[in-house]
């Protein structure tokens, strides 16, 4: 095993002989499974600290299995890749953020914009995950991590109760290490196999579907009211056809991403499929003028672990750490939908904890316990702990179906001029819209208290 050895990310399984996997008994300091943002951050930290690291990726290149409905908040990269914004494959910088509530043919939007978000160090960015994830994995490889693509980790190797490596689907592909970091995504087979998930509740998952629609940059700029490389991030509540969830629209340079995030259990119980619900939302008068006309360049889908703090597995095992989506670290808290930053933050922390444990010669759960402590003192677990009630609140019936209808109804009555009738009072409008949307005062108060408490 040569830590600095270059392996082409496009390497095909037929060139398995050149990889360290299969060199029976070969030992490295660490194996990181999954070259998404969490895995690459972990591998980068370990390699920089002089450890031999194998970064396994089951796709033909990093990011090839990955999509999101999202925005990358890059500040967590400051410490890993200084001035990352000068080289990361970013599509547009988000300078305009909207929350849109849809009901029937109505739309009510809260719209914030600041051109300051279009200057370094920026706030949010849109990017294609195959581009971004590949770029970050290359950073880990440049630091000395051994990136091995087209290789699926099929299980854990145990010695007693210590994890000592992984099996792969390469011929003779056992690989042993002092520590294994599972960054194998939302379906983390490794964390499940290790028994770190006490109970895996389908209710904690959503299915994300997305269309990437090609449009000329000047058309995107005109439709979304931005210039140059500035972009827009729109989160949508309502218009999910009775399935709990939400929608999104994001601008890339010459495409617009439009998609839905849908409760898995809601979908399974219902009679409408994701693409039908997406089609419906795309035709809403609030959305159609933004996305119509272009060709669908790609349709994509992915699972999202949305359960938050209470759905997370044990993060540490003997010889094993779990980070990113594999540890359910997506933050789905209504106005905040984040994941890549939590993946990078947790991956980097896992890399540092792994480094310390290897250095001290104790990679048991006790030796690796620093991982959780690091996460608790960072945004990763403190945000998740603080916002632990919010995912349930957002997916609840009030926020899902009644709130958008009521908000749009109040706006309609408030802005509609119905002369010669005089304007109705605001209190009367709210009362009548609460009644029309089946919102009871005690439910509204209860959920509002939860929200105020939940958002801290």
């Amino acid at each position: 095993m040569k830590p600095g050895e270059e392996v082409s990310p496009e390497e095909s399984p037929s060139t398995a002989e050149s990889s360290p996997v299969g060199a029976g008994g070969a030992e490295v300091d660490a194996i990181v499974v999954g070259a998404g943002p969490a895995g690459s951050a972990a591998a980068l930290e370990l390699a920089r600290n002089g450890h031999s690291v194998v970064l396994l990726e089951r796709g033909p290149f990093p990011g090839s299995k990955n999509m999101y409905g999202g925005v990358i908040y890059g500040r967590i990269l400051d410490a890993l890749v200084p001035k990352w914004w000068e080289e990361a494959p970013i599509q547009r910088w988000v300078t305009r953020r909207q929350t849109m509530m849809l009901s029937g043919d109505q739309a009510l939007t809260i719209d914030y914009r600041s051109d300051r978000w279009g200057d370094p160090p920026y706030n949010g960015a849109t990017a294609y995950r195959p581009d971004f994830d590949h770029w970050l994995a290359d950073k880990a490889a440049e630091a000395g991590a051994h990136l091995v693509c087209s290789t699926t980790a099929t299980g854990l190797i145990h010695e007693g109760d210590q994890v000592v490596g992984v099996t792969t689907d390469r011929p003779g592909g056992e690989l042993r290490a002092k520590v294994v970091i599972a960054c194998d995504g939302a379906n983390s087979f490794l964390a499940r196999e290790a028994g770190l998930y006490e109970n895996l509740d389908p209710a904690n998952f959503t299915v994300g579907v997305k269309e990437t629609i090609a449009l000329p940059p000047e058309v995107i700029n005109a439709r979304f009211g931005v210039r140059g490389d500035h972009g827009v991030d729109i989160k949508i509540l309502g218009c999910t056809g009775g399935v709990p969830g939400g929608g999104f629209v994001y601008t890339n340079r010459d495409t617009v991403s439009v998609g839905l995030v849908l409760s898995l259990t809601g979908l399974a119980k219902g009679d409408r499929r994701p693409e039908q619900l997406l089609h419906r939302m795309k035709h809403h008068p609030g959305i159609a003028p933004l996305v119509e006309g272009g060709e669908v360049r790609e349709y994509s889908a992915h699972m999202i672990p949305e359960g938050g703090y209470d759905a997370m597995p044990e993060l540490v095992g003997n010889g094993l750490l779990v980070a990113g989506d594999a540890a359910s670290m997506c933050l789905a808290a209504g106005v905040w939908l984040e994941g890549v930053n939590f993946a990078i933050g947790s991956g980097a922390a896992a890399g540092r904890a792994g480094h310390r444990a290897i250095q001290r010669g104790d990679t048991s759960a006790a030796g690796l316990a620093g991982y959780r402590t690091r996460l608790e003192s960072s945004f990763v677990l403190s945000d998740h702990r603080k916002l632990r009630e919010i995912p349930h609140l957002v997916m609840g019936d009030l926020a899902q179906t009644r709130l958008p209808g009521m908000a749009c109804g109040v706006a309609e009555q408030f802005f509609h001029v119905d002369n010669p009738a005089p304007k109705p009072g605001l209190r009367r409008i709210i009362r009548s819209e609460m009644k029309a949307n089946g919102v009871r005062m005690r439910d509204l108060v209860r959920e509002s208290v939860k929200a105020i408490r939940g958002f801290g």
């Binding site: 089951r58 299995k65 898995l264 693409e275 089609h279 795309k282 889908a301």
Partner: protein, 97 residues
């Protein structure tokens, strides 16, 4: 389905690259499906890979799978769907620019 006229499902799926493996990474024990009243896989799968048959069974294909795992999590009949990742280098490949 009615109301879905803009692009056909085939056109939609034609926009996605799949490097299909020889070995199927999904297997379905369709004898269990016959007793299943929920059949969540049919609506939850974003690639529409699970199709009910007139005799109460389920036919599926694995070739155009996004590897999201929704089918296996949505399936509430123990053991009916066995789903794992396809072998390395195969399956869905999302576009790079």
């Amino acid at each position: 389905m009615s109301g879905y006229s803009q692009i056909s499902f085939e056109t939609r799926m034609d926009s996605v690259e799949f490097r299909v493996a020889e070995r199927a990474h999904i297997t379905v024990d369709d004898t269990l499906c016959r007793d299943c009243s929920v059949r969540g896989c049919i609506t939850a799968c974003p690639a529409n890979l699970f199709v009910p048959t007139s005799d109460g069974g389920i036919v599926f294909n694995y070739e155009q799978c996004f590897e999201c795992g929704a089918c296996s999590l949505a399936c509430n009949t123990e053991g009916a769907i066995d789903w794992s990742y396809p072998e390395g280098g195969h399956g869905v490949v999302f576009h790079k620019t």
